[in-house]
Amino acid sequence: MQRETSAGAAILFDDVGKTYPQKGAGSVMALEGISLEVPAGAITGIIGRSGAGKSTLMRMVNGLEKPTSGRITVGGRDVGAAHGAALREIRREVGMIFQHFNLLSSRTVLENVALPMEIAGVPRGQIRTRASDLVARVGLEKLANRYPAELSGGQKQRVGIARALATEPKVLLSDEATSALDPETTQTVLKLLADINRDLGLTVLLITHEMAVVRDIASHMAVIDGGRIVEAGETYDIFTTPQHPTTRSFLSGVTGVTLPRFIAEQMVTERPEGPAREVIRITFLGDKATDPLLAQMSAALGLDVNILAGAIEEIGPRPFGNLLISVPADRGAEARSYLETHQQRTEVLGYVR
């Protein structure tokens, strides 16, 4: 199966592992058994807590770190095995942007964007025009001759993006590129990344610890925890049907559907004796996300439904809703089967009196 799909993969991790030797004896495992396909032309987000290994994973794509086992191929070329000139050749086809921008303070905006081309040996006249074009592309033409110290964080990251595009890479790596920015600036930078992905057909791999970043621009995602990928696939599927506890805990921060505390505190997992209410999570998918399904169910079954929390969101162009409700425990099964016949996903979270 992997053979068939790998044709569309820009980056391929094949059972990659990384351990660091430790002083004295033994070693520390950073990554283990990583197999992942990063689809060409798409934006893929890797999410994980700090220390989960996501940064190491990304740095292996351009050979800043070498895997201790397994293979990473970029555009069909084995990065781990490449050295010297061959490795530098691959690196020129992989642009990278950084959390702290890493711009040269001694160079102007234009000169910073020119640097990768100087390194690649592009002729001088060509560097000048291409750098100007790129600076204009990220909307900084008025600041072309300023130094980084005179720019805001968002402007610096725009320079970083222009610089990463200078050698016309096929892949763009984004290492927590918006983590040092305020929410508003984050949105403009993400929009720029999405535009570039669309206009240039560039493959984007980004790592972040913010689920909102993944939701806003990534069509595919992977969740990494403790050096392993615990879940990977299309962002929509993972947001609507998270399988792993780590994914769920990331999601609870972004989807805004956590139980009010006074309910969460008295909720139990086993159905108690006597009258009780069942707490159900409903995930509304696709077109149905906007249907008044709860009202219909309430009328059809004669049920009293209590809404505890909920939100409707969009991932790309597709809406989905997340709703926490409670119904009388003895009619819970009936309610769930009604919802499932209407193509909604349900999950019993617990019971309250």
Partner: protein, 224 residues
């Protein structure tokens, strides 16, 4: 003060400037690559060569721990080989340069170590060779620090140059010792000291001005 003495003071000032300038220039030309190498050659760094780094570090420290006046005398055979003679102002440039090289190398090493490691990583990610990283990233980014370091080195060399009278080198220090001290001419001594103070002030001011000009890290002309 006689016209003759004024003439001697002017000559001595030029001799001091000549010795210091030549020693600083040669010292920088040789000290720069050594400093860069010291900064980049520890284990796992850009030009990883831990053993050479260790040996070079020891040589640099050894040279710097020899008191300058002893260095001047100790390397007389070497001075004769390089300059053709072991006495005189030109010959004095040799020990001054030998003292300047390790000093400048350490100052440049420190300036380069101050450069943010993230910039090296960014350059590596661009596919830069180690030499390109040094030329296009490390040296330009370290330039403010290198400039201040060179200023310090020149000021120290002005001080060292006062000792080369021991091997027949001339200059302000030599004039002060021979006339001001040995011939009891306090006015000569006073003039020598004043000229040295002015020289050091000038060097320091010019050095700081250049360092400010090349330093783009802080926004300029804000509220000024």
């Amino acid at each position: 003060m006689s016209a003759n003495l004024i003439h001697m003071l002017i000559d001595a000032t030029w001799q001091t400037l000549y010795m210091v300038a030549v020693a600083a220039i040669i010292g920088a030309v040789i000290g720069l690559p050594i400093g860069v190498f010291l900064a980049c050659s520890q284990r796992g760094e850009l030009l990883s060569a831990p053993l050479v780094n260790r040996v070079l570090g020891i040589v640099v420290n050894a040279t710097r721990s020899v008191p300058f006046i002893i260095l001047v005398v100790a390397i007389i055979p070497f001075t004769r080989m390089v300059a053709g003679t072991s006495i005189g102002t030109t010959a004095a440039i040799v020990p001054l340069t030998i003292a300047a090289i390790p000093f400048i190398a350490r100052l440049i090493e420190n300036a380069i170590r101050e450069v943010d490691a993230g910039l090296i990583e960014a350059a590596r990610a661009m596919g830069a060779t180690p030499l390109q990283i040094i030329r296009k990233v490390l040296i330009p980014e370290a330039l403010p620090g290198i400039t201040l370091g060179m200023t310090l080195a020149v000021v120290s060399l002005i001080g060292y140059s006062a000792m080369v009278g021991a091997v027949g080198g001339e200059g302000l220090g030599d004039l002060g010792i021979r006339y001001g001290y040995q011939r009891f001419m306090p006015d000569v001594m006073a003039m020598v000291v004043i000229i040295l103070i002015v020289l050091v002030q000038l060097v320091q001011t010019i050095g700081e001005w250049i360092a400010r000009r090349v330093d783009k890290r802080a926004p300029r002309n804000r509220g000024a």
